[in-house]
Point group: C2
Chain length 388, copies 2
């Protein structure tokens, strides 16, 4: 009888040796970059109280969270992102530690997704958080670090879209719009549902100029000239300040030599609600979702009683892996040495195996009896077979 | 108002940078050893169907498992160990792949534990599984690999206790004992509850010789002479075969040069139910629970429709970390370079930072404005501060 207990659940995956090797290699390369940029790794629990994750996010986001109970009936949740736990960690452990606090992580996160489209319920991320620096300079460092990390991991062809929550929030704040209208607008932008977006904007009780601006927001997408154009049409101080920040950001990114990767997109929206400034997402051909993303979140740590501005990003490791698996030739497993011993030579075999291993050779050792079970295919993965 | 959402749950921990650095270092060292010994890393989902984990374990063990529901009401569980998922993975992906299959992992596992005694609900393990080889030679490789891994990770003072499920199972099988009696006996041995153990043995309907043997089983603990003694008093073929295997094991372990770490303990019991032969646990002073453990599990993969004998072990990474944190001097965080720029020199600062980072120096860069916020303590972690 077939039973589900023999299978893994849908939406989560096994990593066999070849994929795991590439994944480890990607993470090691990113770790090296993070280290030289001064970021120190931390690790938080896989689950926390559900309420912790709802601090910076909407109730709707909560529906995507895996929940369960502890022994005392409190609701625990598998972490759906790493920025919130790090905000909690910083407020718990760094009350008196000063700027600059530069933390990074390599962690899995969990979200209920419709996995029929290939989305995973368990995802692997690498990320960095720069805490305590409220200038746009910090955002420039974060975006550049994301770009350098992708390059180092082996992704060559990608673009980073940069937006700013202040631009459209400025428009809405200058008018009488409800939280509900704001959320509906964000949600339709996020889902790129332009029909609904149009409908929502039509029904907003805002002036004609702002209506036209919001209707065209997705067209404000391109190079520096987009910022100049947005500056001209902005009428409120919050939107103007956002554009000034992005112009300075563009300047610093040019110093970092990464301008070729950058486009601006004032209609960009992220699926987490805690962002308060610059936001960005990276895309690479053939991947249906962002390969990296992040932004400024100046209020999140404060909600946990910390008082620090912060900016950060995550790299979608599964996405990087998917791209690399496609472009790299499938390396057949290969090992250096196979030592085969008989009933009386186990001592000699063991000695040889220890010696080869000490010298860094990948070495297997088996008995003559087991050797009989080996197919030619398996024998061929060894560079050298030694009988003792 | 204080709220639990500001805190992490009990029984799980944050790893701050210093601990995370040591943990990563431990895992990298063990990974290197695993690789040269021919083990290839795999990764399984953090959760699977609850039923999967109950395949090789008792219902009582199931009480320690964190459970939750998927969208269709099926019970999922956070993995309480890694051997069961690897058995499931092997049967799903390696139906036609031959011996030798040597897999390893670096993963967290989850168990409800009474965390007031310092036990964690989320634990980190490194482990290796040698699949398809039914000779005791494979067990010798696994035990030696565990010892080499502990040494490489920096643990100097430890002992490995080796037992065999066949020894006491042989005694019970030769008599009329119920499964319930057998479980009670195992449970009291596992918990080292010798009062209950005595009571249970007294009430068993087995012969006087076997009763005396079981009562004294915990005294069969020591060097090779213990095996000779056990051989003399064993009356059934299963127990005798177990002892013969352990004697051959001792011989091969001597070839591997690890005999100084070994003791035999015929009363040894492991907290997982799937073992079918040699079992072992490693102990190091100051750690209340084993620093490593494992054994042979020839039936587990078969239960998933695979047909392979197997042996393996795990290293308790949290335990290794705890020992190392105690013996290593607390390294204060130190960074190489801090670059400070003013309003007009951001370009020059960025250029210098990129250059130092490319050359492998850990480098931070901040604006003059942010520099004003730095305490002397923070300034002192840099070997060099450069103003541009």
């Amino acid at each position: 009888m077939f039973s589900m207990k023999f299978k893994k659940p849908g939406g989560v995956r096994d990593f066999l040796p070849e994929s795991t090797r590439i994944k480890r290699d990607i993470e090691n390369k990113i770790y090296r970059i993070f280290s030289t940029w001064g970021y120190q790794e931390v690790l938080t629990p896989s689950f926390e109280y559900l309420e912790t994750f709802l601090m910076g996010n909407s109730f709707e986001f909560g529906e995507k969270i895996f929940k369960f109970f502890d022994r005392r009936g409190r609701v625990l949740a598998l972490r759906p992102d790493m920025t919130t736990p790090i905000a909690r960690l910083v407020s718990n452990h760094y009350e008196n530690v000063e700027f600059p606090l530069k933390l990074c992580y390599f962690s899995n996160v969990f979200r209920f997704e419709d996995h029929r489209g290939g989305r995973q319920n368990e995802m692997f991320q690498a990320g960095a958080e720069l805490i305590g620096w409220n200038e746009i300079d910090a955002d420039a460092e974060i975006i550049t670090l994301a770009i350098k990390s992708l390059q180092e991991a082996g992704i060559k062809n990608f673009k980073v879209n940069i937006g700013h929550t202040g631009f459209w929030e400025g428009i809405l704040k200058s008018e009488r719009t409800s939280e509900k209208e704001k959320d509906a607008l964000k949600s339709s932008l996020l889902n790129k549902d332009f029909v609904t977006l149009k409908e929502i904007i039509k029904n907003l009780s805002i002036n004609k100029h702002n209506k036209a601006l919001l209707l065209d927001i997705t067209k404000l997408h391109g190079g520096i000239d987009v910022l100049n154009e947005a500056e001209k049409v902005s009428e409120n101080e919050i939107s103007k300040k956002a554009i000034r920040e992005l112009k300075r950001l563009a300047e610093i990114l040019a110093y970092y030599g990464v301008e070729e990767y950058i486009t601006f997109d004032l209609g960009l929206m992220r699926d987490l609600d805690y962002y308060t400034g610059m936001i960005f997402e990276g895309y690479t051909p053939g991947l249906g979702h962002p390969v990296c993303g992040g932004g400024r979140y100046d209020n999140l740590i404060e909600k946990f009683n910390g008082v620090k501005p912060a900016t950060g990003f995550m790299i979608n490791i599964d996405g990087v892996l998917k791209v690399l698996e496609r472009i790299q030739c499938k390396n057949e497993a290969s090992k250096d040495i196979l030592i085969v011993y008989n009933e009386n030579s186990v001592g000699e075999g063991v000695e040889k195996a220890l010696d080869y291993r000490n010298r860094g050779y990948t070495t297997d050792i088996i008995s003559e009896k087991q050797m009989g079970k080996l197919s030619d295919e398996i024998k061929n993965i060894y560079k050298k077979i030694i009988r003792v």
